[in-house]
């Protein structure tokens, strides 16, 4: 330990102000404080500080994601084994999956670290640990078969355009991880959408996600019947909860996502208001659309209105299908890009739920509406805050008579 300490102290002298290598100080500081907690002292009041810092805050989000990684790897192996009709066992499946997950993870972190460190040096700001969370989230939103060069480009885009050009963590408008996901969705649609990418099987093997089934039905029926008619995967509510279905790496197991949610709420890192209100928004809109479908089929609108199987998805199915929970728990709650006021958080979350269902059900081009809904609401979060704060200003003016 002393040896390591000595290395840092020696190298620290090289990056001091005025030395030729002083541009590397942010990088040195980041590495130094990763290995040894900073001994930075308070200078004036408050003379004492809480033991929580940004490193730990961000690291806790990464901890909450680890179970999703492990299950994601297992699920890749499991779906592959079913497609190949072989039995590899629990550990075999996980190892098979890890051979897909780990390269994506490494590609993301290398690309993310290069972007973050470069900008830290150019802009002379400290390396913010927030990029660890962005980089930990990106692989979980990817299909297992995604080409690594696309991951590298997508991550760089997310970190640079989503964050650094706005001034880095704390001043960014869009969630960097979702910016990556959106960029890749529109830049490389063949590798990140459709029904070929979600499960790894023999050549030409196709495995549609649950959302694709009611979105592209061969004939009109309710979503539940369409799920039941699908013989390839078990799309029962129970199985969608446990996550043995095709999908992005981290989104499928809802139990682990909920555990992550409880962990983050318990630690006081993520906002429970956003999580609860987005579920409320989703349930509200899903019920509304269920009602609309009732009218189009059995009511007066039947002749003119075209039946849409997506309208028959029940609120609970909406929650379990796709990455709604993953997005709500880990993406929507990103503190910088969400609303900064508690009232605003309720509105922001509710509208994410509403938009998710609308994009999913009304617009068949984008079966997965969550990431678009969150990005749209990221854009509106400052506006929501503006009106919440204006209400406070009006209250204060009214008091001043």
């Amino acid at each position: 330990m002393n040896f390591l300490r000595k290395i840092f102290e020696e190298t620290g002298k090289l990056v001091e102000e005025g030395k030729p290598l002083s541009w590397a100080y942010p990088v040195w500081e980041a590495a130094d404080t990763i290995f040894f907690s900073t001994n930075k002292q308070t200078t004036k009041g408050p003379h004492i500080r809480d033991n929580m810092d940004i490193k730990r805050t961000m690291f806790f989000v990464v901890i909450a994601l680890i179970p999703c990684y492990i299950f994601g790897a297992y699920n890749i192996g499991y779906l592959n084994a079913s497609a190949m009709e072989i039995d590899r066992g629990l550990i075999g499946n996980t190892i098979f999956g890890l051979t897909y997950v780990i390269p994506i993870l490494i590609a993301t972190f290398v690309a993310g670290a290069i972007c973050e460190l470069t900008f830290a040096i150019i802009r002379k700001h400290e390396v913010n640990e927030g990029f660890l969370v962005s980089c930990a989230l990106i692989p979980l939103t990817m299909p297992p078969d995604v080409p690594l060069w696309q991951v590298i480009i997508g991550t760089s885009f997310g970190i640079i355009i989503g964050k650094e050009i706005f001034g880095g963590v704390g001043t960014n408008i869009f969630n960097p991880a979702l910016t990556s996901r959106a960029f890749m969705y529109f830049a490389f649609p063949t590798k990140i959408s459709g029904d070929k990418v979600w499960a790894i099987g023999p050549d030409g093997y196709s495995g549609a996600t649950a959302l694709a089934i009611p979105a592209n039905p061969s004939q009109y029926d309710t979503a539940s019947n369409l799920f039941a008619a699908n013989t390839q995967f078990d799309f029962s509510m129970m199985n969608m909860f446990w996550g043995l279905i095709p999908g992005s790496i981290g989104e499928t197991n809802k139990l682990l996502i909920l555990l992550g949610a409880f962990f983050l709420i318990y630690c006081g890192i993520a906002s429970w208001r956003i999580m609860v209100s987005s579920v409320l928004g989703l349930v509200f809109t899903a019920l509304l659309l269920n009602l609309l479908n009732y009218f189009t089929i059995d009511g007066i609108l039947q002749a003119g209105g075209s039946p849409n199987a997506m309208l028959t998805i029940s609120p609970l199915q909406h929650i379990l299908i796709g990455s709604f929970l993953f997005g709500t728990v880990f993406m929507a709650t990103e503190p910088v890009t969400s609303s900064h006021t508690n009232t605003g958080r309720w509105i922001y979350g509710f509208l994410i739920g509403v938009l998710t269902v609308i994009i999913r059900s009304i617009n068949p081009a984008y079966p997965e509406g969550v990431f678009l809904a969150i990005l749209i609401m990221n854009m509106f979060a400052p506006l929501i805050d503006y009106y919440v704060v204006q209400a406070n200003i009006k209250m204060r003016l009214a008091r001043n008579v």
């Binding site: 001994n39 033991n51 730990r56 400290e126 704390g170 006081g268 503190p335 204060r396």
Partner: protein, 443 residues
């Protein structure tokens, strides 16, 4: 009696709380008054080194407001005037002449029937600095007409001087002080108390008694005002430190100046105790009670106090010293630490973290980072103010917005807990002060 309950906040459970009994200490030899303790004051000295002064003599006045003069808090000799950068006066040190002080203790009859009588008596004895105002937390302008007067006897800050103990023998003076302060305003006189302490005040109907409950900062003047009578733009509210009531009370009732003060010393790196001392007392009398080699001595509380040397002096508005250890410890991968008794956090971020009596040190426990709004400030800030939006308006230098968002209601001490809990280690107090300074200098 009005009751207010504060929910948002946090009582920092720091170790080293003094028990409620006085320890003996040798008589104080030196006291000091520092112009740096007063915001926006440009001091013009009226004394020089070697001058003889009597208690209450004017030492300096404010160039911006020449009516306000600062009293000598002892009789004796000006032994030293300490200057800092750009000839800023840091300390006016007085060597106490105890014999001289005994001789002048003669009582004269005081008759205070009107507002002007009270004002004149305060003016004559140079006691205006004991009355401060919100907003800006500065010494009052005697010609102002305050909307109300607030006195907090419920200090909730960590290691605070427990006034229900240290003022226990001063009951008559407290009542005398309050009844005459009452005359200075046409509005209410609010006095905040906690629990059953100072319950004798409920017999006096000129006092609007407020019983506060809940964690720090519930005892802060700013928080109490926000709940009972919010400070609007252009309002001025006067306040007096609870510990200073006996000084005013003795003058109002007997005409005697007495700057004695029961002070409290606490903190993890010192033997905690109460002492009978006086305003501006020097710390070095108590240096034997230090428990650690490398300590930081703070005048005032650990949240808003000021670091002093071992021969430094108690700040004018302070009634306690706090002592914590200077730590340079660098644990290996400390941010991965599972928890235990060596960690203290408002977040549930450490397993079995110490929440009872924690030995805080001067470690910042993290590097400065860009601000990430994880709702940390809001959970310890009880006012109906969007503190995050307010801080941003200060950084944007937008005076209109600062006013609209209620900066006048805030003071550094009200947001000190926000800095304490902030994972990005921001200094919210400095931001608020910067905003107040911008507005004050703009006027």
């Amino acid at each position: 009696m009005q009751k207010i309950t504060i929910k948002k906040g946090h009582n920092i459970n720091i170790s080293g709380i003094a028990s409620r009994e006085f320890s003996n200490a040798p008589a104080q030899k030196f006291v000091s008054i520092s112009p740096q303790d007063f915001n926006y004051v440009k001091p013009k000295l009226l004394v020089k080194e070697g001058d003889q002064v009597t208690i209450g003599d004017a030492l300096f006045f404010d160039k911006n407001n020449p009516d306000v003069k600062w009293p000598s808090i002892a009789s004796g000799t000006i032994s030293n005037i300490v200057y800092g950068e750009r000839r800023a006066v840091l300390d006016i040190v007085i060597k106490i002449d105890h014999d001289k002080e005994k001789n002048i203790e003669s009582s004269n009859q005081v008759n205070l029937s009107s507002k002007d009588d009270v004002k004149n008596l305060i003016q004559k004895n140079n006691l205006w600095p004991f009355i401060t105002q919100r907003p800006f937390n500065k010494v009052v302008n005697p010609s102002d007409n305050p909307k109300c007067i607030v006195v907090s006897l419920a200090d909730s800050s960590p290691l605070a001087n427990d006034l229900s103990f240290s003022l226990s023998e001063k009951k008559d003076y407290i009542i005398s002080a309050l009844s005459n302060l009452r005359k200075l305003t046409d509005g209410q006189l609010y006095v905040a108390i906690r629990g059953d302490n100072f319950s004798f005040l409920s017999d006096y109907n000129f006092i609007n008694l407020i019983q506060v409950e809940g964690p720090h900062p519930s005892g802060n003047v700013g928080v109490i005002l926000n709940k009972v009578n919010p400070l609007n733009q252009n309002d001025i509210v006067w306040t007096v430190q609870g510990c200073h009531l006996p000084v005013l009370g003795k003058l109002f009732s007997k005409g005697i100046l007495d700057f004695s003060l029961n002070i409290c010393i606490g903190g993890p790196a010192v033997e905690p105790s109460y002492f009978k001392s006086r305003i501006g007392a020097r710390f070095d009398l108590h240096k034997d009670s230090l428990l650690k080699e490398n300590v930081r001595i703070i005048t005032g509380n650990v949240l808003t106090g000021k670091q002093i040397d071992i021969d430094g002096f108690l700040g004018f508005y302070h009634s306690s010293f706090s002592v914590i250890e200077e730590s340079f410890n660098r644990p290996f991968i400390g941010w991965l630490h599972p928890g235990g008794k060596t960690k203290y956090s408002v977040f549930n971020a450490y397993l079995g973290s110490n929440k009872k009596s924690f030995d805080f040190t001067t470690l910042q426990n993290g590097s400065n980072r860009a601000f990430v709004p994880v709702d940390a400030w809001e959970r310890v800030f009880p006012m109906d103010i969007y503190i995050n939006a307010l801080a941003r308006s200060v950084e944007a230098n937008d005076i209109d917005e600062m006013e609209q968002l209620g900066i006048y209601e805030c003071d550094e001490e009200d947001v000190a807990l926000c800095s304490f809990v902030c994972p990005s280690k921001s200094d919210v107090g400095a931001i608020i002060r910067k905003g107040l300074d911008t507005i004050y200098l703009d006027k």
